[in-house]
């Protein structure tokens, strides 16, 4: 008989296992739907390989393992994928996670699969691959991928099969052994083969399962597998605890059993591996205990992964009125479910529905009395009361120093605590907080590194930039030195100054232009005021209050604008006056005083320039300023000299001269002002003359056109033309009176034709202005003149004996006739 070590600490709660072992493992009818969470293990979630609407067969891969520490999931039965989305999963948080919903077609058709008859014909690596593909995660509780656990890097001396099942109520492993001992033993052989046939292969079983012990015994007869029975004590089923009981070895803190050459596998996992290797069946179902007094029937079931818990409970006469709380797992380490529809997953070994008497609500916690019972119960030899103390004060360093992470959260301490302190909950929370802080630390270290990198990068960029700037500056200086033009900078400076001055001059328009502009502004403002006043009137008549309001505001605004414009105009006028005054003042002042003033102002300017030089940081600017200063000083000296030369009484002595000069200046200024006024008048006239000429030309052209086309508007056009011509004449007269000059078409005519035309035009204008009688008289007169001329010509021709005599005679006769007709008309008119 093998030596058995004692479990450190531990408790012995009521077992309550007998209820669920009365009947063999049952099978349930297929539920309406199966909800298969993607991630049912520790590690990375698998990669989905099916889509909504896909028809799948039993055992078909739904999701492939994604990475080393990952397992896939398979279809538990044949059917259609109806949904892939988030559903509540069995987890203490009650959170949702990605799940595949499968609607069974009730045919339960298997996908083509085959097992190995002789696993020893395959390499261990190949077998591990098969286990991985079968989606086998540890069925004991944590759900660690079995293939990863089996691919130990260190040589394994001991393989331990965990058939302890120490937690109360749970009988899934017990029943499995009772019914399928042969398959389990074959599974153990497979595991031993994969691990390179370790020296020791042990099955650890508690002494409260004699039936299971008996069931296994016959198949172990000719093997090296040793079945070890030890006293029932919770939590002997913990991996590290079991290793200690069976071998006396202790797994180092923070280490793995593999570190000391031991591999531990759960009995359920062993069976699943056997199914996968021998039959090629992936992990699609498991044995689950449904127990508790809230269920009328307590039994184990071969349950498909993804079966809603409500489906299981429905077939066991579950009465939720009696149920204290629905627990997944055992009463010690299980967690309360908030949702009845969460599915059974690979790690679901028990659904416990205890009545309120069975598992009453824990009474409120009281103060820790430091009794030390928890320390006696702790299977990991920790000091639970100290951990509790530090967890309460959130002293995480001390918690780690007290090996909080060696706590297996078995709940033995809470179980024995006379003050009902939920110790494990404190440890779990503290562990979570420490993990979170560790993650934050990693993140903050990364953030720091990134921040420091960015700072360094920015500094580097800045350095590069300034180096470039420096290089450019140097190159520019060199270029200047090479071109041998030291004044280059000053030149450019003076250019800038000149440009600025030009701009300023441009802005400052001539005073008359300014005045004209302001006058226009006033006129515009007046107009605007009128319009808005009209609008206001109209609005008031309409009675539209809003419009009245608006109009009033507009009127006020317009008045303001008008005032503004007037003020500006006035200011300009007074400014002109003040300039005049200043000139007078200056002229009237004695040269002595003037000089003194000049000196004072020069001194002031020198002071300013000196200050500027002091402030100037640019060399070129400084030189320019220095030059200016020199000039100013020169001027100052000159002025001072002049002042010294000018006798003090000079001003009194020569008042006449100055006043004369002043008078002259004033006269000149006035003349100029007058000229300015005149100039504008002149300009106006000239412009109007020009425009009139243009219009006349156009009118003439139109008239000609009208005549050519015999339009009815000829008369109207003629009158318009005449009017224009009259205006032009008036303006010309005015202009002439103003300037003594002629303008426009009064230029010297170039040839006789144009002279004639001009005269004819003038005549036409005169005619247009004459009364009918005058016109006739004029016509008579002109005819008389022409007759005279023609007679003269005739006489001349007769004297010369010209060949034109006849023609001239006819012409004069005609003229005589015309004259007679005209005279008759005039006589008639007069009469």
């Amino acid at each position: 008989m093998r030596k058995i070590w004692d479990l450190v600490g531990g408790v012995h709660p009521p077992e309550n296992k007998h209820q669920s072992v009365q009947q063999p493992i049952g099978r349930l009818p297929l539920p309406e739907k199966l909800v298969i969470p993607l991630n049912q293990h520790i590690g990375a979630p698998p990669k989905l390989v099916v889509n909504i609407g896909d028809e799948v067969l039993k055992g078909q891969v739904l999701a492939e393992p994604n990475g080393m520490v990952s397992v896939g999931v398979h279809a538990p039965t044949s059917g259609v994928i109806s949904d892939i989305s988030d559903y509540p999963i069995p987890h203490p948080s009650g959170m949702s996670a990605r799940c595949i919903t499968l609607i069974p077609d009730n045919y339960d058709r298997w996908i083509e699969h085959a097992g190995l008859d002789d696993f020893r014909a395959c390499s261990p690596a190949k077998l591990l691959e098969l286990i991985r593909e079968a989606g086998i995660a540890g069925l004991g509780g944590a759900g660690f991928p079995a293939a990863v656990k089996l691919s130990a890097r260190k040589p394994v001396s001991t393989l331990i099969i965990n058939a302890t099942e120490c937690e109360p109520y749970i009988t899934a492993d017990d029943m499995l052994i009772r019914e399928r001992a042969e398959d389990i033993v074959e599974g153990i052989r497979i595991l031993a083969y994969i691990l390179g046939d370790p020296e020791e292969v042990l099955i650890g079983i508690e002494d409260n399962k004699p039936e299971a012990y008996e069931a296994l015994q016959p198949y172990l007869a000719d093997t090296n597998i040793e079945l070890v029975e030890f006293p029932t004590r919770y939590p002997s089923g913990g991996e590290k605890q079991l290793i200690q009981i069976l071998t006396g070895k202790e797994v180092p803190s923070g280490g793995m059993p593999a570190d000391i050459g031991i591999v531990c596998q759960n009995i359920g996992t062993t069976y699943a591996i056997q199914r996968a290797i021998r039959h090629g069946e992936p992990l699609i179902s498991r044995v689950t205990t449904v127990t508790g007094r809230a269920c009328t029937l307590n039994r184990n079931y071969q349950t498909l992964i993804g079966t809603p818990i409500s489906h299981l409970l429905k077939h066991n006469g579950y009465d939720h009125h009696h149920c204290a709380r629905l627990i997944m797992g055992g009463p010690m380490m299980g967690f309360t479910l908030t949702d009845m529809d969460v599915p059974v997953i690979k790690t679901t070994n028990c659904i416990l529905a205890p009545s309120k008497e069975e598992l009453p609500t824990p009474p409120p916690a009281q103060a820790c009395i430091r009794c030390g019972m928890c320390a006696e119960a702790c299977p990991a030899s920790l000091l639970p009361q100290q951990l509790f103390w530090y967890a309460q004060s959130q002293n995480y360093e001390r918690l780690e120093a007290h090996n909080l992470f060696d706590c297996i959260e078995c709940g033995a301490c809470s179980y024995v605590c006379p003050s009902n302190i939920p110790l494990v909950q404190y440890y779990r929370a503290a562990k979570g907080e420490i993990r979170k802080q560790a993650q934050e630390k990693i993140k903050s270290d990364r953030a720091r590194a990134r921040f420091e990198f960015q700072q360094a990068r920015k500094a580097k960029e800045e350095a590069e930039k300034s180096a470039k700037r420096e290089a450019r500056k140097k190159a520019a200086a060199e270029a200047r030195a090479k071109s041998g033009d030291p004044a280059a900078t000053t030149d450019s400076q003076s250019d800038i100054v000149q440009a600025a001055m030009a701009r300023a001059a441009e802005k400052q328009a001539s005073p008359e232009a300014q005045k004209a502009k302001l006058e226009r502004g006033v006129a515009r403002a007046e107009n605007h005021l009128q319009t808005v006043e009209q609008r206001l009137l109209a609005a008031e008549q309409d009675g539209n209050e809003q419009q009245v309001e608006q109009a009033r505001a507009a009127v006020a605004d317009a008045r303001l604008r008008l005032d503004d414009a007037l003020a500006k105009l006035q200011a300009l006028e007074t400014e002109g006056a003040s300039t005049e005054n200043k000139v007078m003042e200056r002229l009237q002042a004695s040269p002595n005083e003037a000089l003194q003033k000049k000196i004072a102002s020069l001194r002031e300017r020198i002071a300013i320039t000196e200050q500027k030089i002091a402030e100037a940081d640019d060399e070129a600017l400084e030189t320019a300023l220095q030059n200016g200063l020199d000039k100013q000083i020169g001027k100052l000296k000159e002025a001072e000299k002049q002042l010294a030369e000018t006798p003090a009484g000079d001003a009194v002595l020569t008042p006449a001269g100055t006043t004369d000069a002043a008078a002259a200046a004033i006269a000149k200024a006035q003349a100029r002002a007058a000229a300015m006024g005149n100039l504008s008048e002149e300009d106006k006239l000239r412009e109007s003359i020009m425009s009139l000429e243009g219009r006349i030309e156009k009118a003439q052209a139109k008239l000609d056109e009208a005549r050519a086309s015999e339009s009815e508007h000829v008369d109207a056009l003629q009158t318009g033309l005449n009017k224009l011509q009259q205006k032009l004449l008036d303006n010309r007269e005015k202009y002439f009176a103003l300037t003594g000059q002629t303008i426009g078409s009064e230029e010297q005519p170039q040839d006789a034709a144009s002279v004639a035309i001009a005269r004819a035009q003038a005549r036409a204008v005169e005619l247009a202005n004459m009364s009918e009688q005058d016109k006739l008289r004029e016509a008579v007169n002109s005819l008389k003149g022409r007759l005279e001329k023609s007679r003269q010509k005739l006489r001349q021709a007769e004297a010369e004996g010209s060949e034109h005599v006849e023609a001239l005679r006819t012409a004069s006769e005609k003229l005589e006739a015309k004259l007679a007709a005209a005279e008759q008309q005039l006589a008639e008119y007069n009469a």
Binding site: V11, N39, H91, P92, S93, M95, A97, P363, P364, A365, Q366, A367, C368, I369, M373, A391, Q392, Y415, V416, C417, P418, S419, N420, I421, P422, Q425, Y426, R428, A429, A430, K431, G432, E433, R435, K436, E440, K443, S444, D445, R446, A447, R448, R450, F451, E452, F453, Q454, Q455
Partner: protein, 205 residues
């Protein structure tokens, strides 16, 4: 030979002083510590959000300021935890967080750019202290959520207000057990007649 105990003692003492002085002087040069190690330690405790809420341009400058005597309660992202840690390190009383610099928030947030509204101005990229925003001029930008410290500095410069500070979704991976209500509170809430389990007699452990 005449004994001069006084002189001998003086010589011995001066000799010792010279030797130890030399040793200390050598040690001061040989084992010289570059920089201020306390600043490093403080910097390690700060949350490295580089948010500038303390009034310094980053966590390290604030660490330097603390080493120079500034208050330790100016870090809202770190909150009371950081203040406690700093107080423990510097052996001073832990004050509460200075509300002037902001409120401690339990919810971790990261910046999120509404990408269809982004105009690609790069202003947020320039503002990010940890280079967690990806993008180029006239190209859409996006936040690398895993690198974002939630410092908020990119929100203000955005001309189109397309950056939101979203709470980090709580996943299964982030879930942790809640700490039970403290026993002091529970004791306060106790009704008379509540006694420890072993005294109840009806249910032995």
């Amino acid at each position: 030979m005449i004994q001069h105990p006084l002189i001998a003692a003086l010589v011995a003492l001066v000799g010792l002083a010279v030797i130890f002085g030399a040793v200390l002087g050598f040690a001061a040069i040989k084992f010289r510590v570059e920089g201020d190690p306390i600043v490093e330690q403080i910097d390690k405790l700060l949350p490295q959000t580089q948010c500038g809420q303390c009034g310094y341009p980053g966590c390290r400058p604030y660490a330097q300021a603390i080493a120079d005597g500034d208050a330790i309660n100016k870090c809202p992202p770190g909150g009371q935890t950081t203040i406690n840690a700093l107080a423990a390190l510097l052996d001073v009383d832990a004050p509460t967080l200075d509300a002037e610099h902001g409120q401690e928030s339990d919810i971790k947030k990261v910046a999120f750019i509404r990408e269809d509204e982004c105009i690609g101005c790069t202003k947020c990229i320039q503002a990010c202290p940890v280079d967690a925003i990806l993008g180029a001029a006239k190209q859409m930008h996006t936040v690398i959520a895993s690198e974002c410290t939630g410092c908020d500095l990119c929100v203000e410069p955005c001309p189109v207000d397309c950056i939101d500070m979203l709470p980090v979704p709580q996943g299964l991976a982030d879930w942790k057990w809640e700490m039970p209500a403290s026993s002091a509170e529970q004791v306060k809430a106790l009704r008379p007649g509540n006694i420890i389990a072993t005294d109840r007699g009806d249910r032995a452990a």
